[in-house]
Symmetry: C2
Subunit: 231 residues, 2 copies
Amino acid sequence: MAENVSYQNVQAEVMRRINDHVWEPGGLIPAESLLAKEFGCTRTTINRALRELADNGILDRKRKVGTRVALHPERKATFRIPLTRLEVENSGAIYRHSLIERKICKPPVVIRTRLGLSATSKMLHVRALHLSDGQPFQYEDRWVCLEVVPKILDAKLETISANEWLVQNAPFTSGDIIFSAASASKEEAELLGTHEGDALFVVERITWQGTAPVTQVRLAYAPGYRLHSVI
Amino acid sequence: MAENVSYQNVQAEVMRRINDHVWEPGGLIPAESLLAKEFGCTRTTINRALRELADNGILDRKRKVGTRVALHPERKATFRIPLTRLEVENSGAIYRHSLIERKICKPPVVIRTRLGLSATSKMLHVRALHLSDGQPFQYEDRWVCLEVVPKILDAKLETISANEWLVQNAPFTSGDIIFSAASASKEEAELLGTHEGDALFVVERITWQGTAPVTQVRLAYAPGYRLHSVI
DNA sequence: CAAATTATTATGTGTAGACATAATATGATT
DNA sequence: AATCATATTATGTCTACACATAATAATTTG
């Protein structure tokens, strides 16, 4: 008798009660100590179950106030941000990349202000094309903050992509990502082997080391690219 | 004396050692029991610290084998999947939606096979336009599985959007999401108030209740839409 | 020697209890 | 009545210990 109740059992039952509207969206659910008594386990176990559900956005918790069912159950989707090389190789194709430009210069105002840099700052501007089985796969336009990552000037970016060098040598603490769709410019179309005006999937990413910007990159994918994710 | 060591302290120090290459990517790190001794806390605390980092993709853990620094630190990004209504309202605009079509019929083969339905299955096909301050914001093309959610036939989809009705009435256990870019068809362009061929940001989503498909939806956003996310 | 069996070990998860902390509710004071 | 100090409460996190489990290593067996 007295089987152990696992935190997963608790989670399953909590989810059932939410789905069956036993516990209404926005409503308070019983306190941990009560649930512990009801489920016949310790508060530790209940705590872990509820904490994880709160991490997943299913529940909202506040000290002293209690735990309530999230009002708008906006499920969180997570997706991995792989290296472009691995993204290609995982599809079974052969990866290659070619450096288009590598220049130290002052960034355009858009970039500078977005990163919060002074007007005199110089950055490393890198443009590269990533290929999958010889076909254009992704066009990369990157600005690297030299004050934060001066060592990148020693990197052989013809051999190792800036993407990969940064992952290995420039840790970041946080980042912003923006997904959008854009029409291919003439140059982009040429590089990606498609036509001007074609719809491209675009990812922009800015990464930070504390409050200092590390790098900003714009990745334009060749037509047909689909980013997959799971809820 | 003997200050408590929190799991967050442990996480911070672990991250430092990874960033400073004290622990190499792919390398084994000391076992929980050793770290507990080193940090002067219990294994429980170490476990929580490492477990969370593993959840975030920073570490790889396997029983008996140990814990290693993830070889390719593909950071996971998470983003919320809000109701379209809230997405609009949170931007300060007024939301409205208009139903374009609501029909019970057999789905095209693409949809049917993707959802694993039989050839005779009928589904509810809903098309709607979501507006932000009167301007076209998102075009929704949805198929709902009537075997799983028969009650949707009673819903007043002119009043409440299918999106919102389903969130409240049809829980799901898992889902796939695909992001892509597409050129606007003539009809899409008309509905979204733009031009044929314009680049649209497209989200496709399939949700499942166990192994049964709940709904498949294709959301095409008006030009200019950007999806934000944080790492 | 190869195959099957039996340790061994690192993580996974549970119990029981304690103190910390944030936010509210209550009561005392002006 | 309004303000401030004080209890109260639910979650947050830690200690200390125990047993479960998966995967490997060591050992026995055919």
